[in-house]
């Protein structure tokens, strides 16, 4: 078997703050096979966006390794980095602030091509037209500026821009969170179509569990910088094992009045990610917490291909 497209080993990203080290991403491991989608879920501040940005070198990793097609890309040279930009791209959350207001639709989509100095002018124009058609932007928007467009169309520009250099891997950072549901469904379908046509690999970062289930092959649940559970999508929703994942799942308001879901209410305050203690970070809010949870937690394969970081996992789930 060939190497996975993306492999992340013991990745850490810390930020220095006035009060100490903020552990935004703390010892995260995973792989993504080509053509698959890894969903990363968690609540605000869990480090999911930082994780995506660190992999793309928009932030420098503090420690650990990032491998692309089996090759270590943790500390690339300038030249290597610019080559990597052809392979890896990002779609941002907010289609209102991630576009330059002074660049028209076509200029925005053409920008990465210009920066790469690899194409002739006519080639770039043809490519831009083709991309606009692919993402469903009519040619009449060629000279239009972002403020004249609604959120859905703006996000289509963001997608076209990410596709401009023909990447293999795209980090999608909450790409539909700012959109209305009917538009959200259009964009999600577009992203799935593009993945099929172009064999794209996605890392899909979101707080919305129903979206993540719909789009992902595998799911990673993060809590305060650490992976607490990792499993194939269907498995995770069928057999939720970590107490945090259980609470997260039960908290989603379901648009079904006959659904009978018991809410697992979390008490307690969220632990600070600044210089955290070595034990389980969810402990303060966990209904099952005991002394053992003060020890550092190890992520273990509890069921086939289903990893959980909780020392009481077997006990809680009667396994």
């Amino acid at each position: 078997m060939s190497a996975p497209l993306i492999e992340v080993r013991n990745l850490k990203k810390f930020f220095k703050t006035g009060r100490g080290m903020l552990h935004a991403v703390d010892d995260v491991n995973f792989t993504i096979e080509e053509g698959k989608t890894l969903g990363v879920v968690g609540e605000s501040g869990c480090g999911k966006s930082t994780l995506g940005r660190t992999i793309l070198h928009l932030l420098d990793a503090t420690d650990g390794q990032i491998l692309y097609k089996g090759k270590d890309i943790t500390t690339p040279t300038r030249k290597e980095l610019s080559a990597l930009r052809h392979e890896m791209q990002i779609i941002f959350q907010d289609p209102f602030s991630s576009l330059n207001p002074r660049k028209s639709v076509s200029e925005t989509i053409m920008e990465p091509m210009k920066l790469s100095h690899s194409m002739k002018k006519q080639e770039m124009i043809d490519r831009t037209k083709e991309l606009m058609e692919t993402v469903g932007l009519a040619e009449r928007f060629w000279g239009t500026y972002p403020h004249e467009l609604d959120g859905g169309r703006r996000q289509r520009i963001g997608i076209a821009r990410a596709l401009a250099l023909g990447p293999r891997f795209i980090v999608c950072d909450e790409p539909v969170s700012a959109l209305d549901v009917s538009i959200q469904a259009q964009i999600l379908n577009l992203m799935l179509d593009l993945q099929e046509q172009r064999k794209l690999t996605y890392m899909f970062v979101t707080h919305d569990l129903s979206v993540v289930k719909y789009i992902s092959d595998d799911i990673l649940v993060m809590y305060l910088g650490q992976v607490v559970e990792k499993a194939p999508s269907d498995e995770l929703f069928k057999n939720t094992l970590h107490p945090y994942s259980k609470a997260l799942l039960s908290a989603i308001p379901v648009p079904d009045i006959h659904a009978n879901n018991e809410l697992v209410t979390l008490a307690g305050e969220i632990t600070s990610p600044i210089d955290p203690k070595p034990g389980c970070r969810f402990m303060a809010r966990c209904p099952y917490a005991s002394d053992r949870c003060n020890e550092p937690q190890k992520i273990e394969e509890i069921l086939p291909n289903h990893f959980v970081s909780c020392c009481k996992c077997r006990e809680i789930n009667n396994l």
Binding site: E43, D150, V181, A185, F237, L248, I252, D256
Partner: protein, 326 residues
């Protein structure tokens, strides 16, 4: 509940906004009744007119660009659109209160949270300062915040806690009507679940009527008894929770349900509603949803649909409603 006294009755409300070169038709002939002790969910997308309706009830439609051009709003039988600003001020925050969407901007950052609650109580009740403080502390406890935190500032609270403070402030004068504009949208799901649970419990305790503005059908399912679906400034469907969730009838409502990724399904593609909401500066002759509707006919584009009401009170603004095969 049908026999409960109506708290608010909105009749044929029209609100327009004027920009330099166009008139924006934000609310176009809305009729809506909220009864005592009832939670009505007002569901729709960005720009559908949800917040404008709430602001109209509270008498805070932005002037001079915004204008209520037609209609009446009765609060306990009195047309509040005809009230003088002085009388309206005594209702606002007292009988009618509003929770705004973003708890981060709804609080004054340089005033202690307790004092912000106490201010509303002192303003509307003829009680001493000490009594008002005591009442504010009780309100904090009611929403699950220890009374000692009365003296803290908003930045010392988390997002969920701030939203609790905002709710405490809104409920401080025991209003008859609470306008909640996306009160949980800015919160994480686990915190949202806590706040919704608290709102349900408080409503049972205080019997406040609530207008719950949201775009999230999941939130509606967990807290409302009645639902109104709004599209391009018009109510397109209205009914009980069961009517809307078990028998959604208007094509737009059906489209909203089809657009949602469901946790318990294995479908590979969502069914989005094609196209986008119409430009609110253009007046549309026929059905406003016709351009996005898969059932639209020539008649739909020519004739504006009236509300069709089923025998059990389910209202649908669609020409197909009530006909065979619909």
């Amino acid at each position: 509940m049908e026999n409960n006294k109506p708290i608010v009755e909105i009749r044929d409300l029209h609100v327009q906004f004027h920009s330099d070169d166009a008139v924006i038709h934000a609310v176009n002939g809305v009729d809506l009744t909220i009864r005592e002790g009832e939670t009505l969910g007002l569901v729709g997308e960005t720009g559908a007119g949800k917040t404008t309706i709430a602001r109209a009830i509270l008498g805070i439609v932005a002037k001079p660009q915004g204008e209520i051009t037609q209609g009446e709003i009765f609060f306990e039988g009195q047309d509040i659109l005809k009230l003088h600003e002085k009388d309206m001020r005594s209702l606002r925050g007292n009988q009618i209160a509003m929770i705004f969407q973003d708890p981060m901007t709804a609080l004054n950052p340089i005033e202690r949270v307790g004092e912000q609650i106490e201010e509303a109580i002192g303003l509307h009740n003829d009680i001493s300062h000490a009594e008002a403080i005591e009442r504010a502390m009780q309100m904090l406890e009611l929403v699950g915040i220890p009374r000692e935190r009365y003296f803290e500032y908003p930045h010392q609270f988390s997002g969920g806690m701030k939203q609790r403070v905002v709710i405490a402030m809104a409920l401080a004068c025991n209003p008859k009507l609470l306008l909640a504009d996306e009160p949980t949208t800015a919160l994480d799901v686990t915190i949202q679940a806590q706040v919704l649970k608290m709102m349900r419990e408080l409503k049972e305790k205080l019997n406040t009527a609530v207008l719950m503005i949201t775009h999230d059908l999941g939130v509606v399912a967990s807290i409302c008894q009645k639902v109104a679906v709004i599209y391009a400034g018009e109510i397109v469907e209205y009914g009980t929770l069961e009517q809307i969730f078990d028998h959604p009838t208007h094509p737009y409502t059906l489209g909203l349900f089809g657009s949602l990724p469901k946790l318990d399904s294995t479908e590979k593609r969502l069914k989005p509603i094609r196209g986008m909401m119409p430009d609110p500066t253009i007046e549309i002759q026929g059905c406003k949803f016709a351009d996005r509707c898969e059932y639209a006919t020539e008649e739909c584009r020519a004739r504006h649909p009236e509300i069709y009401t089923t025998p059990d009170g389910h209202q649908i603004r669609c020409l197909r409603a009530g006909k065979e095969g619909a």
